[in-house]
């Protein structure tokens, strides 16, 4: 293999930039030869429309991908980063929808686990947004649902959310009490 090919392979595997001096030592040639081979490599990559290009950073060399590839890369990346609705996020959304405006602390208390991450996700997805501050020590942020949330569920207001009936709530309480007496120690 010729020197330009060797440089290409080395820069490829290293990933980072490598100084001409280091290349000369590794390949056991003069720095001047590295310089010439780098020119040849650069010209070759350009002429054959390679998707890789040679970057020169002072006396260091590095390979990089060409700008023309970015759009395709973004498509690949966005595929990999498609958001998913986990159970934690769903539950958090349900709590915010019914209990809004509500603080992160309250959500955590209801779910029994820290839910900051889930709340942040929902804000990022624009399903949830800040809705003022609670007048309490530390003035914690209150969260509520967004217009996008209403639009998705074709609701004109959060008042239109299906009711949690009083009976249903009472039922829960009874059940829970029955269970708690059963397990009495």
């Amino acid at each position: 293999m010729k020197l330009d090919g060797m440089i290409e392979g080395i820069l490829f595997a290293m990933g980072s930039s490598v100084s001409k001096k280091e290349l000369a030592e590794a390949l056991d040639v003069q720095e001047k030869e590295i310089e010439e081979a780098a020119d040849a490599l650069e010209a070759r990559l350009a002429s054959e429309e390679s998707g890789i290009t040679l970057l020169r950073l002072d006396d260091r060399l590095q390979l990089g991908s060409r700008k023309e590839c970015y759009d395709a890369l973004i498509k690949l990346a966005s595929h990999a980063r498609k958001p998913v609705l986990t159970n934690a996020v769903r539950e958090t959304l349900a709590i915010i929808a019914y209990k809004q405006p509500v603080t992160k602390a309250e959500i955590a208390k209801i779910r029994g686990v820290n839910s900051d991450h889930a709340v942040n996700r929902l804000v990022e997805y624009r399903l949830v947004t800040e809705a003022g501050r609670l007048e309490a020590p530390g003035r914690p942020i209150l969260f509520g649902t967004t217009e996008e949330f209403l639009r998705h569920f074709a609701l004109s207001s959060t008042d239109d959310l299906p009711d949690i009936s009083a009976e249903k709530l009472a039922e829960f309480t009874e059940e829970a009490e029955a269970e708690s007496t059963e397990v009495e120690v």
Binding site: F12, A13, G64, S65, Y70, L73, R81, I95, R126, A176
Partner: protein, 261 residues
Amino acid sequence: METLAFKLEVFEGPLDLLLHLIEKNKVSIYDIPIVQITDQYIEYVSAMPHEDLDLVSDFLVMAATLLDIKARMLLPAEEEDEEEGDPRAELVERLIEYKKYRHLGEELADYEIDGIKVMVHPEDLPAEVKAYRPPVDIDELLGDVTLAKLKSIFDDVMKRREDKIDHERSRFGRIRRQTVNIGDRIRHVRGKLAGGKKQSFRDLLGTGVTKLEVVVTFLAVLELIKTGDLRLTEDSTRDDFILMEGEHHSSEIISEYAEEI
């Protein structure tokens, strides 16, 4: 002693050793002189260092097989088990099968010489690609989450919470500040594991109502691990630990932890 010169070589297993003996004696794999090979095999195994019992036992199993074949070959051939054919047949088949894979392993070594010299490139995504977040399509994201579903999720969460509330205490009206006692938590954890039961670490922490309770339960687990009362294994599939009684579990509560914190 010349016959034991090979004992220092490392054999991959009993089949590897047998093949070595067959090659060394220049005999046919189809017509193994079973008496001779068995004697040499046993001589080797008895000279083996016995530290690795697992390995030695695999060699001993083969010794038993060889002795069995030897015994059957010494029986008069016209006995009733004539239809079974050569008692060595199954062993021969195993030897050939093993030899095949041993050979293929050696072939792979040549490929390996090339393969390990090929280096790949670390991920090198441009900053703008890395920083890119796809726009969220709410309709797609929410998918099957209908209003009814959202309601039932809320119901479930609230029910779970209801289940946790101690209705005995809540009847007293104002709930007094709870003191959490590590001795109690140790007893609680022990109770969960009594009789060899297993317990999920996550579920155990989930039983704590307040943050303090969770922390003290955690401390109780640490203490029990330290004293050898509890042992834990990883459950990587569920990102959890499984707790169970350790070897030194005792029923006494360590007295110094009986005090409140």
